[in-house]
Symmetry: C2
Subunit: 377 residues, 2 copies
Amino acid sequence: MQKGKASLWLERPVYIMSMAGVAGKKEGEGPLGSKIDRIVQDPMFGCDNWEQAESAMQKQAADLALEKGGIHRKDIRYLFAGDLLGQLIATSFGTVDLNLPLFGLYGACSTMGEALSLGAMCVDAGHADKVLAMASSHYATAEKQFRFPLGYGNQRPQCATWTVTGCGAVVLAGEAATGGRTEAGVTEDQTEAETPGRKVKAGTPAGNARVRVAGITTGKMVDLGARDSMNMGAAMAPAAWDTIRQNFEDFGVDETYYDKIITGDLGQVGSGILLDFMKQQGHDLTGKHMDCGMEIYDNERQDTHSGGSGCGCAAVTLCAHILPELMKGTWKRVLFVPTGALLSTVSYNEGQSIPCIAHGVVLESGGQSQKGGGKES
Amino acid sequence: MQKGKASLWLERPVYIMSMAGVAGKKEGEGPLGSKIDRIVQDPMFGCDNWEQAESAMQKQAADLALEKGGIHRKDIRYLFAGDLLGQLIATSFGTVDLNLPLFGLYGACSTMGEALSLGAMCVDAGHADKVLAMASSHYATAEKQFRFPLGYGNQRPQCATWTVTGCGAVVLAGEAATGGRTEAGVTEDQTEAETPGRKVKAGTPAGNARVRVAGITTGKMVDLGARDSMNMGAAMAPAAWDTIRQNFEDFGVDETYYDKIITGDLGQVGSGILLDFMKQQGHDLTGKHMDCGMEIYDNERQDTHSGGSGCGCAAVTLCAHILPELMKGTWKRVLFVPTGALLSTVSYNEGQSIPCIAHGVVLESGGQSQKGGGKES
């Protein structure tokens, strides 16, 4: 159901059926290390170069997500995937063996939000019963592409983030996946949640899934003129704000509607900017906001400066921490907002600014909306 | 309606409401020159560098498509767009001013097929009333990124293609766009086309549109080990075949079902390989096959060797030639198969092969399927 300018409530239940995170040694030593499904100590993943390593990581994450869900690869209808590299080579090479119809996506570090959005829209529409959404990044491929060769040992300013070596893969499934498919418009027990103007069709979770993609707010390019590629948090904060604001406006809610509002990789610097700005606009996110980039590393111990970044940052934190907490019921409703800075070395060397985007995904635990709290629209 | 492993019939009519092509001087001098909406003589498009030029071209194509359709920008719900450059910088910078929710896509030169597919799926599902699908390439940005600086004047082998400077933009709209929206599952005059197993819901064209996206076959990565980046037609031909074969299998049809089967940018070399291979498999495409890369330039006069390539090749040919011919009724049903080679300079320099993908879109003139001819499934 279209809401406002850029949002949708999904009317048919789209569940997280399975998920898996694969990450590197440094991420394994971080606060989420014990929760990440697989930590690979070799940064080369047994391959000959960094790009192949990232491709191998994607393959491992996809296979593991399928294995954990007891899902056969042939039952996945579409793969929505991307990474940070030029021409998506981590994905192109990493997904050949999966042999799945592929929609290649690029949203920089927001890619997991884009993949979840399109994947869920596709399942909601009945265009697929099960899809796989996936995004990855690798510290060494990103440094090689965007900054300096690792051997150069360049110094990083305190506002810089550290690209996560990691991949998150999520299987989304509709009711059809359980065999008891409800055709669009013919459901019997249609219920209306307390949220103003929102209709939710009841359904049984697919398999053991207990978390659903409930809604989507699609980001637009935001470019306020930031040019410092070593301070991407500051560049991305306005895009995060734009998507959160649009989500509030479209759904007629505010921060009280969510248990957590979780940005992708703003880091300490970008998060501070976002929170300050939102406070000025009358939205106090104290205790509500979390940033994947600040969760995945312990800066005191790991010297990561502003925090983690990269497609893998939000994707791995989603699989290792956010979805499990929703499954446990710690949180009932989360607004997940991966953030992306769409610069390239070409645009950077030409002195251009850094356009950014953030994609919002509403994740809920349980079969239905469980609390109201939305403002009257 | 899901068909087979990788295809969909769209059940609700999704029409081409408007389209526009913008291209460069060389394309203007080619066989399609007089049909392209706007030819810009200045390859810099009045900008300071090639990348900005490509962004400016995207902006022009989007604005022109809206203008031609009498559509206000705010009525477009989503933009599905991409280009060939690392981190999609032509799109990122080119679409900031459009201020539209954006799904950034990367499928190399198949991107227009990917954008049409996702855009049409989105409209079919009722997730949007109108979307804009767009893809671009620029000869100079592509040479700079993938090959040599233009000033180097490198020699190109006869199997090389010439990247099209061009952008095609298409507005897709559902019935809702005309105000007479048919809710899913509650249509009254449901008709069944002659195609086996296919259901089509009747509807009135949106605005003056007379061409619809009827079906989709989503490509998967195909990598047969080709490594010559100066012969991308040969690399992409197996991907084109894979998608065409899948389309035939999923829909239970063969080449007789289509008036034309139109590949994106195989060029003379790749097209020859595709036709030879299909003939071996029992499919004679004589008179049926067309390749955008062979239509957009006149090799005799323009010295383009194997033909045109780039996202803009299929996108501009679609807007300038394919859709107009469908509107005129010259063809009733076309399988449009843009082809993409997902190599980067990084993967090329590492000696890797060229993984390829092709996305198939079934375009039909008129409100409904007009001929049968499908094989019994």
